[in-house]
Symmetry: C2
Subunit: 241 residues, 2 copies
């Protein structure tokens, strides 16, 4: 029973990685489709959205079943709840990739403005952040999760840089305004994808360390939720029953 | 033990409502501060951010403790997991209110462009959606949760309308570009706040109905996670042990 439970937790992590690969592929297809002006590639993002939605429902369902059937310890429960939170982050990465695809479709109706500034680079970084945040979960690698948090600042800087360049563009030639706005929107969407990866990395640090790093909460302040508290909770539970 | 558990679940719901009121107040202060050009009101949003972050940590902690100490049934477990997801939505409403406040602070550095088009109206609707999504949880009111989902379309329409008006603004007078862009950004942030309320309403429908309405999944397809499955899960659990 115990072994089966941990086997299923392992499967869950593996399938979460696959869901992450799909989310990244969606971002890649939307931005590469824009770069290569390839409408077919962009259309693919809409099909992939169905699949990522299906995966979220399936994985969440398995999480609920697992935690209802077994009585997980506090640390396993934290993992299961983190997975449910992460499927929702990944589904939103997918949603946001669809937003990028829609803006790209608008842009394909008109002649190109000019090279896409740092947008492809932002997309690369955001995709890597999604990948690394999930790898940090599977490998229990806090260092990697922390690296994801740091990279988010880089994405914010790129977003500001892209915004400045696009504004001077619009000022120089007001005929580019509506196209420049779509690009501005796309850079905002990519920033949001990086934010989702950041949220995942924070959840990973929370479950691996048993500590809450959100909002700069110090390790140990969340005593009851920490790994060491598993034992304490068990004892309390027995005492009260 | 059982009574204490349900009493604590009740307290959790009540405190979640308070957290929602704080999130709504943050949105209100940011947008009213912009409308009245009141820098003090806008500054308040930054202080409130500390408080909403603290509330998230505290409520999550209580959820983890509750589910580790008691062995909740599938439906109670769904409620607890939904609360953890909802605190994270509300914290992001707060984050997004801070984004609105920052854009408003930029705008206060310059002379006003003109009345704020439909931005105050978008803010009102988004705040009401946050309130209604939480009320639907506390009262188990599926009808209200469904109304929140429908209102989201209205917000999306307002966002498009605001964008169109701002673009014609920029075209007519390119000197307004940077200010119009801040307003555009604010309308996007308000749309995102409405999205968070929509996510909450979907979670509420999920726990009340025991069915997953996300991605148009039909009631009953998530059999194992449904209220009726509580019994089935108990039996399976006993059989396997």
């Amino acid at each position: 029973m115990e072994r089966k439970f941990h086997e299923e937790l392992g499967n869950l992590k593996r399938d979460l990685l696959d869901m992450g690969s799909l989310a990244r592929a969606m971002v890649g297809n939307a931005v590469n489709g824009l770069r290569d002006r390839d409408a077919d590639l962009i259309r693919k993002v809409h099909e992939q959205e169905q699949e990522i939605n299906r995966l979220q429902l399936e994985l969440d369902d398995r999480c609920f079943t697992l935690s209802a059937l077994h009585q997980p310890t506090a640390s396993d429960l934290r993992l299961i709840i983190a997975v449910i939170k992460i499927t929702s982050e990944l589904e939103r990465v997918g949603d946001t990739a669809v937003n990028v695809a829609e803006a790209a479709e608008e842009l394909l109706q008109e002649p190109p403005v000019k090279p896409l500034i740092d947008i492809p680079r932002m997309a690369d970084i955001a995709q890597t952040m999604v990948h690394d945040s999930l790898r940090s979960l599977v490998n229990g690698d806090i260092e990697l999760a922390n690296a994801v948090l740091r990279t988010d600042d880089e994405v914010d800087q790129l977003r500001d840089q892209v915004a400045n360049e696009l504004v001077s563009f619009m000022l120089n030639d007001p005929r580019t305004i509506s196209r420049a706005l779509q690009l501005l929107l796309i850079s905002r969407f990519l920033e949001r994808i990086a934010d989702h990866a950041t949220n995942i990395a924070e959840d990973v640090i929370f479950i691996v360390k048993g500590a809450d790093v959100r909002h700069g909460a110090a390790v140990g302040t969340q005593g009851i939720a920490s790994r060491e508290a598993d034992e304490q909770i068990k004892q309390q539970g027995q005492g009260q029953r």
